[in-house]
Symmetry: C2
Subunit: 231 residues, 2 copies
């Protein structure tokens, strides 16, 4: 593996503190691959052969049942996905596909399991990462169960506003995927955007302008225990 990739991976929280010898061992059988957009990386129910690291581009985690499909999360650089399946050595619960041209590092799960058993710093980092992932999906479940789709959209926009620090921003994904991520149909999302107009949301294509942050916030009632990325 190219040295610059190796360094990128090394700098991720998950690998930053581990012993260098162990990190080199982990990299030994790993490799980096470039994928075009819309390529399936893994399918749910497959055995977890590799821990994946998104170095560039972005990846959609999604799931299907009975002919329906839903987007569960988007993974952006630099972070890993399907860590839980890897460490438990159980089948993937979600499928993954590239959204755009992406560079992905593949680390054999077997090596991850072998090394985290001996490297205490690595084990700690895994604990931290898994706890973080767990909390993030708990928030997602609360969002789904406690809010209507209009409220979910309103809060999603506020989170984007917070992330960019700007009252105007572009959506980071297609509307159809956003709809799926928020747990609704495209048509419903289209109408939801209209429904937020009275609260000062202006939409032009994929460009969003929050005209009245106060009104939107009053409607959305954001809550740190659902909407904060950090806590």
């Amino acid at each position: 593996m190219h040295e610059s990739y190796r360094q990128e991976i090394r700098d991720i929280d998950l690998f930053a503190e581990m012993d260098d010898k162990n990190f080199q061992a982990l990299m030994r059988a790993s490799y980096v691959q470039n994928f075009p957009p819309r390529i399936d990386l893994i399918q749910e129910n497959e055995p977890p052969d590799f821990l994946h690291v998104v170095l560039s581009g972005s990846v959609d985690l999604f799931s299907a049942w009975n002919g329906r499909e839903t987007s569960m999360a988007t993974v952006r650089p630099i972070s890993t996905f399907i860590l839980a399946a890897s460490v438990r050595n159980l089948p993937y619960l979600m499928s993954a596909r590239t959204l755009e041209k992406s560079r992905i590092a593949l680390i054999p799960s077997q090596d991850v399991r072998a090394i985290f058993a001996t490297d205490s710093a690595f084990a700690q980092a895994i604990v931290s990462e898994l706890a973080q992932c767990y909390r993030s999906i708990v928030k997602n479940a609360k969002d789904l169960k406690l809010r209507t789709s209009l409220e979910r959209l309103a809060n999603y926009l506020l989170r984007q506003q917070e992330r960019t620090g700007n009252l105007e921003f572009d959506l980071t994904m297609e509307k159809r995927r956003l709809a799926s991520f928020l747990g609704m149909t495209s048509e419903n999302l289209s109408r939801a955007f209209k429904g937020l107009e009275p609260y000062g949301v202006r939409v032009t294509g994929n460009h969003i302008e929050i005209v009245n942050l106060n009104d939107l916030t009053r409607y959305a009632k954001p809550n740190p225990l659902i909407d904060d990325y950090t806590t």
Copy 2:
């Protein structure tokens, strides 16, 4: 702490493999408490002072937003809850209350964090437990996003059938809580039970009889990646 409690806790996967000295240290400032039914144990947003272990009884994890409330999970003996908050030292995302008379062990989170940093077997067990929790809530989110409430109920009943190994069983919780857990109103659940009659589900109070397992299964389309506890 009484020796028998100590042994019960020791036997949980999470603590079974750790060094004995460390386990004793963990128990030093821990204590066991008896709670009546319907007592609040923790509230979301509080700092995670204690890791909780349910020794007997049962505990409801729930969450509220904007006047609405939803049940997220039920914790039964012998297992722990709010591990993720404890290890990350971040506020609880869910509240907890006893459902019945319950005996709960309280282990200072600070000690958990201190000891898992030095005890590799404990760290491994925590990884395993968190990965398991993560996967279980991913399944929950898939259930919510991919299925209608009628389908969720049907699959819930099939899971209970599987767990008990019997075509007849009693519901393990009040219907109102089941409704909340499944993400619907009591009224909707009431009608959903009626809606499953054509597929061979007979309901008498909280007693369920699955008259036609084939029909129900054909309707519910259970899937290991959503419904299996083990994978």
